[in-house]
Amino acid sequence: MPPHKMHCTSASLLKTTLLSSSTRASALPPSFLLPAFTQTSPFSSTPSHNARKDHNRNRGVSALRHTGIGKNQRLSVRVSALPQPVVDPARRSAVKVDPDHGLWAFFPKERTRLSTPEELNMRGRGWTIQELRAKDWDDLHKLWWTCVKERNRIATGEVERKRLGGRFGMYGEFEAGERLKEVKGTMSGVRFVLTERWYAWENARVQGMEDEEVDLYADVEKGERAYVPREEREDVS
């Protein structure tokens, strides 16, 4: 029996369908439902466009977004034939490092990861200015670059020592600091000597410009004299 609260027309309709389905031999739908079965044209009159064939096999495939290999993507290698990476570090083959690799210069002579405080202590003193004054341009610059590389080495060691020391630290800070002091002293000495040399040259040049006896434009290789004393000058009477 249809429920009491239903609308009278829908209730009566439902009654007729129920009764008709039980009494009639052929189960024909009522006439108001016939369009649902016979109508084949679409409701909308807007022309529908069939989707064009997308010739882009790589659509939706991105390495940056980790989408994985697409369904229609054709690769030169089958996914099943790709080599599997060895995830366990213990099972990986050891990498052979060249003995003359440039990065060894960042590590101590013994090629250990970290210098002990004793090894850091095994050093001489820095160069004094008196010793550096005797050196020429090329030697001073070579010394500078040696100091630069040593400073990089000490800095790399310090970063590693701080990391390995953990929360409570390890010995070695004082020794590294002392070593660095010597290196920096040498570098400042090199700078001092070169500056001193430049000032000497500059003063001599300024004096030479004003001096009558000095000819700054003389070509010494051709035999012209840069310094002609007053007594020997021909144009002065």
């Binding site: 490092v97 002990t116 390890m170 700078r191």
Partner: protein, 183 residues
Amino acid sequence: MAAQAHFKVGMKEIYLPNFTLVLKRTPSQPPTSASFLVPLWFSKLDLRDYLHHVYALPIGPHIRSYVQQSRIRQGQTKDPARPQSKRWHRPRSTKRMTVELARPFVWPPEPEDYKPWNREENRLSREEQEEMQERAGMTADAMAVPEERRVKLREQARALLEGKQKWRPGGGRIVEGLGMYQR
């Protein structure tokens, strides 16, 4: 260096540069990769030039650069009598550059024994120092019950609750009291 550069070398000659480069440890990267801590004004071209001329290191075509901003922190008080030096400030940022190497490089192994660096003694002495500071500091009352006593109390409580032990006033010891509650 003696070897021909694999890139076009610049015309500017630089004499006596004064900065430090630090080689960083990169355990998560493959051995053909190296990372450096460089000055903040450094560029990728500078790094390529530097590594070629100073270390004779041929590099792959790409260098990756990353600037890490530091967190805001207070200054260090060298003189506790002058607290104004503890200003809030943001220290200078650090720049790291990652480079692809032509030949792989693996860092030497970590030392097995840390005795030359005295790490174990350092740790013990610092832990003891921290404990003493806590006992003397503001959180002293939280430290009043040591850990061993707490464990013993927990064991006793568990035994009482499970019925293995019976509670007796004073723990069974004969205590000299006022005698008010004795029968």
